[in-house]
């Protein structure tokens, strides 16, 4: 019989954790094997930890603005956003490994790392926005809350990320 059942939950988990792990490993390439292993654990930890910390704030803020769907749906949307950003990170990992293996400047590690992680996070935020907010009225109320939440999350994430590289 043809093809096979795919457990989509397992696929989502693999993308959400495996993607950052792959990109983390790539970011450790200029610093040696130990850094590869360390950062393949630190980056998923950073992404998931930050998400756990910031997701409730998003739900509360959107609810106060009258733009939030039910809590379970917010949770599912956050899961889908993690999957989207994880997929982009997994896709960028080989390119990053090559670029960082061929650069002599540590400054470029930070620049390229921020670009790659930033791009992946942007894909995740886009997926989150598309999933959470439907309808023009809801969208208007959601924009300031979501915007402020993004700025705080990205600022916090960038700060932690820069301290994480080469740790």
């Amino acid at each position: 019989m043809r093809t096979r059942e795919t457990n989509w939950r397992a696929a989502y988990l693999l993308a959400a954790v495996g993607g950052p792990a792959a990109l983390g490993a790539a970011l450790g390439v200029p610093f040696g094997v130990r850094a590869i292993l360390t950062e393949s654990v630190l980056l998923p930890g950073l992404v998931l930890g930050l998400t756990l910390m910031m997701a409730p704030a998003l739900y509360i803020g959107m609810s106060l603005a009258g733009a939030a769907p039910p809590a379970m749906q917010v949770g599912a949307s956050v899961g889908r956003a993690l999957r989207a950003s994880g997929l982009v990170m997994a896709g960028l990992a080989p390119a990053m490994a090559f670029l960082l293996a061929t650069t002599l400047s540590h400054a470029f590690v930070y620049v390229l790392g921020l670009l790659a992680v930033g791009g992946a996070v942007a894909a995740g935020l886009r997926a989150l926005w598309v999933d959470l907010v439907s309808g023009p009225a809801r969208r208007l109320r959601a924009i300031p809350v979501f915007g402020l939440w993004c700025v705080v999350s990205l600022g916090l994430g960038a700060h932690l990320f820069i301290h994480m590289i080469g740790a």
């Binding site: 997929l87 650069t103 997926a127």
Partner: protein, 248 residues
Amino acid sequence: MTTLSQTIPESYGSDFLHTIDQLLRDVPGVLQRIRDARDLATLARAMIVTIVAGAGIFGASMGAYRGGLQVLYAGLKLPLALLLTTAVCAPSLTALNAALGRQACIRRDLSLLLASLARTSLVLAAQAPMVLLAVRMGVSYHAIILLVVACCAAGAVVGLSLLLRGLRTSDAGPVLAVALALLTVFGFVGSQMSWTLRPFVLRPRTPEPTFVRSLEGSFFEAVVTSSMSARGVYWRSSAPLPGEEDVR
């Protein structure tokens, strides 16, 4: 009266010339074949051979500026630069498609990338005589570089148009975001790959051609150095020749 043999060619789906002809004259047919995922392994093989041949011819024409071994070196390195860049960037398109809610299938995405690069390589091969003419006329090194860049830009535009068309027809999702992101990744990796495999045209003052030079940092670091030099800020007396140490 047509027979079954004419319906099914002797080497069904494995005719290289037919695939190349289709790539040049029947782009909708190629895109349809990719969408239908029909015998993609044969298509991929034909595309890769086209890239090797087309880019190899153009690379050889670049190496003709110096002549001798450089013709062979550049003829090998240009297709290698294209294919290794594709190898490194291969998962990016599928990952971007999946993340942005578009249809994502690694074989179809790779086939589209390879078809675009193959078309670019064919355009490069067609422009190789122009570079050879410039070399024969004794055009200066920097003018040759500019001509090569212009030829590559022309090839890139043709290849990019196929890529965009393929992205648009495969799915209604966000095409521009995917295309821009892919081009960014390809641009970064391709620049660094070319830098790693340099030289292609070879500076006149280089005593002996070598297959590759020492790394000397990345392409982006070289851009920063050049922009500083353009402002009159130098940190060394001259660029190192192959084999010379880069004193910082």
